[in-house]
Symmetry: C2
Subunit: 201 residues, 2 copies
């Protein structure tokens, strides 16, 4: 990529352009189906040539995956647990931030779940679940999780996706009540795994 | 389909042939990836001409979906709740039958979850979840489920898929314990929805 080897101000422009394209891509993929969008259309909306767009993203798939990865990174930093708080309280705060992000980006979340047949998206979703599971298990069972606790937390992450999709479809539960439902469900699921002492300390 | 309009014994042969092809298809799709299998290969394994196979199933996709539908129907009849039992006990028996079926067909279940990007499969999975959810809600809230209870049961059905995939990947929890984990999780999730009286009557 010799074209990147330019003075620093140019490198900044490149980063900035990439950021803008990702932002535009996020908006476009949220409001259109994947098949509906072409690279030509995206380039037109961005006011750049198709060639330049391909310079930044070698394919529509790569642009799409990059927008998802950016959203995932945004969510991950938003929901980073506060190490100053007790684990359950930190989880409650993180969960609230997550639900807040989804309220602001309902279509993006739905698309992510819908697109999980694309291998890169499936890997991304699996990766997010794995890291969230590690976060939670690290909080409740720092010395290693017994199989049933691991299964319970994995199941709870699936439950969370199911409950959130139900929430987005019906919109008949206030966000704070949904957060309490999810936290209560985690407690219930962990109790059911026989590892309830992990939660109460 | 004039060729079907033949004497009754022939109709039976047709049904029997179709049943055999579905059985063979189920085995083949369980042991090979979808892309790996061709209609030519399936016809060869069945010992019939490709033309005859296409007579029964107009495309590989339709054969694949038919095998899934047959498995789904098999599971549905296996897990039909016993109306003589109290709802929770009936659920426990159904769940045990479901886990037993999965133990016998681990690959089929994994394939089903993996293939859920195919619209027909996604519809099938959604349909199974909807009907299972109706079954459960009909048992615990026959007069209509409040939103949080509906969300909780939906979430639990997702949890079940996540827990079962984790179980198949690790195989480190005995089936009876898994069943108890799942039943306990349902109780915990329903309690978390604030509708715990639905379970205790």
């Amino acid at each position: 990529m010799r074209w990147l080897a330019k003075p620093a101000y140019s490198r900044l422009q490149v980063d900035e352009r990439r950021r803008q394209l990702l932002e535009l891509g996020t908006d476009l993929f949220a409001s259109h189906s994947y098949d509906e969008l072409s690279m030509a259309r995206i380039a037109r909306e961005a006011g750049i040539s198709k060639a330049l767009l391909y310079h930044y993203f070698p394919s529509k798939r790569e642009l799409f995956v990059a927008t998802l990865q950016q959203s995932a990174a945004e969510v991950e930093s938003l929901t980073e647990p506060d190490p100053e708080l007790p684990p359950l309280e930190a989880l409650s705060v993180s969960l609230d931030a997550f639900l807040g992000w989804i309220e602001e980006h309902p279509v993006a979340y739905g698309k992510l779940m819908e697109s999980s047949h694309q291998p890169e998206v499936r890997d991304l979703v699996a990766d997010i679940r794995d890291r969230t599971s590690e976060r939670i298990l690290g909080g409740v069972a720092p010395d290693g999780a017994p199989p049933k606790l691991r299964a319970a937390v994995t199941g709870w992450l699936w439950l969370m996706d199911g409950v959130i999709l139900d929430w987005l479809a019906h919109r008949d539960v206030p966000r704070a009540e949904l957060r309490e439902l999810l936290l209560g469900a985690l407690a219930g699921v962990v109790m059911a795994s026989g590892e309830g002492q992990a939660l109460t300390g």
